[in-house]
Symmetry: C5
Subunit: 154 residues, 5 copies
């Protein structure tokens, strides 16, 4: 049976973990879902790796990043770590990140977060359950998460 991991943070200002769990459950009702909550983005890679080692077929991580230069350096370190965790396990970790400077307005930021989590949770299910060509019909289509799709250049 399929098993998905959801890793979220207490730093985040939106409960993205619950949205991810709900979306995965709707998309793949028979699967098992395991949740793991850590303080911040730099704690995501090891949590994701632990879930993959405990049998998850894929993981979605839900990061929230502040506005300062240092926050961006932490984002870079966490991104490298999440990619390394994938290379060490040969499994997908879909890395959802919301940056506090993506919108001036808190409501807009929340909308971005919700849209991004939902779309990427579905991406995770497609990759894990349906395999490497499940997203191929959408290749080059300019899909965006958190925003309107950009669409292909005709």
């Amino acid at each position: 049976m399929r098993k998905y991991g959801v890793v979220d943070t207490t730093f985040s200002r939106v409960d993205m973990g619950s949205i991810a769990v709900k979306t995965i459950r709707a998309e793949d009702p028979d699967a098992e879902i395991v949740r793991y909550t850590v303080p911040g983005i730099k704690d995501l890679p090891v949590a994701a790796k632990r879930l993959l080692e405990e049998g998850c077929d894929g993981v979605i991580t839900l990061g929230w990043v502040g506005k300062s230069m240092l926050d961006k350096y932490s984002y870079l370190a966490a991104s490298i770590g999440l990619i390394m965790a994938q290379l060490l396990t040969s499994k997908h970790i879909i890395d959802v990140t919301v940056h506090e400077d993506e919108a001036e307005d808190e409501e807009k930021l929340k909308e971005i977060a919700i849209d991004r989590v939902k779309k990427h949770a579905i991406n995770l299910v497609k990759l894990v359950r349906d395999g490497r060509t499940a997203l191929t019909p959408y290749a080059g289509k300019g899909l965006r998460q958190g925003y309107e799709h950009a669409g292909p250049i005709d």
Copy 2:
């Protein structure tokens, strides 16, 4: 028999995967080609590694990168990841990336993407099929992908 991997994204605004498949098929008609589509550039390294582990002799990845500083940090993380995936498998991953700020004009951007994919798909075939000196006649020749060749300094 040779086997090539093509990894592309749904983020891209040009269907670079199809161009890569077509170019490799024309260049090396007897080879097998496997395609893998992921959401964005940070998902490329693990997909490429999976294909190499499943028997591909070489992989071409096709990334599309936005204009913001954060996109560039994601580019850096993905680039490090793609290099690590190569070091862990000792096989080539030719990393094609198009940046949205390479051209103001969408048509120009598409031209860059097409030219870059075609030239690098041929590079991949040469390295995989013909070996480590296949490109030596062009060493130091200032070849460019996506642009006119710069040429050697005489």
Copy 3:
């Protein structure tokens, strides 16, 4: 029996190691605590890894970073290293960092350091002793260490 590691530096201007030891002891009185002191942040990753290899279940590292661009590059390298140490051991290292440019005032800087160490030491105990859902009630709550909690976006 649980065993925690505390790694601090001689570069730091606040004795964060003692605060971490005290906080962990109050939070988890039966546990063993091991302390390790190194010169600066770039020495933290290997010290943390050594403690984890010697049987610690989790480690808290306590870094102090100067104001210059170079200090920030060192921060980035150390952050990547701490994440890699976690991936190599599959255990948590809670990475507490105080940046000298977080406050103009030395007293304020000390307050930030103390608050951050205390809150993160408790986070470490929760993750190590109580497991992957111990922090889930606080997921998405906008918790901050060193500052007031930002709170969730309603």
Copy 4:
């Protein structure tokens, strides 16, 4: 018998590979030299690692980097990759890089490239053939490759 690897690129505007081969041959006439040509700098790490795995005692890589910020990020990723390739094999890779913004004048750029390759090819032979103290007489002497030596501070 000693065996050296030379890895160069088709992106380079100077045929640095031939210069490296010639210099190593003059410096260590009995040794075997293997050449490997790749498209660009991000392809250097895996090529160098392959040569080291096939028995080379040391490798010189010859990178050429454009002027844009993105080229510099690629340089950073390639540099990290080349260091990782060395750590994974415990052998030296002397990493020669020429940046297009090092000189306004093409002829000057070519001079820099030639001087840098020659001096570093000799460094490689010294390290591989003569061992870890071969360069010790020059320690702290402010040697430069591509430029005049800076000399020691007296």
Copy 5:
């Protein structure tokens, strides 16, 4: 018996290697000291790893970094590499770096280099010979190498 490694460069404008050897010898007279000289900072990580694999208990590396942005990127790559070398061997590499833009005056730069090497060579001996709590009496004391100690915030 204890064995220390000293890795320095020909790029450096101060013979920091000799200072390190002298300081370690004075601090731990019975120990063996092995020296290794490489061209520049990007060659330090593999040299340090080789010494650790050949039996050194700890290594001090002595880097000298130019003023340009590219030099700083090389510094970042080398720093990551030195941390990875430590994680792969679980031994300390004390990473001493002098940046040419730390002082306008050459004499001042030399003073910084000498002070930094001496203090860090002693740090290395303390960690290797006396263990993980040898520096704990100085934890949080604001110690600086190359400059006056900043001291603790009272």
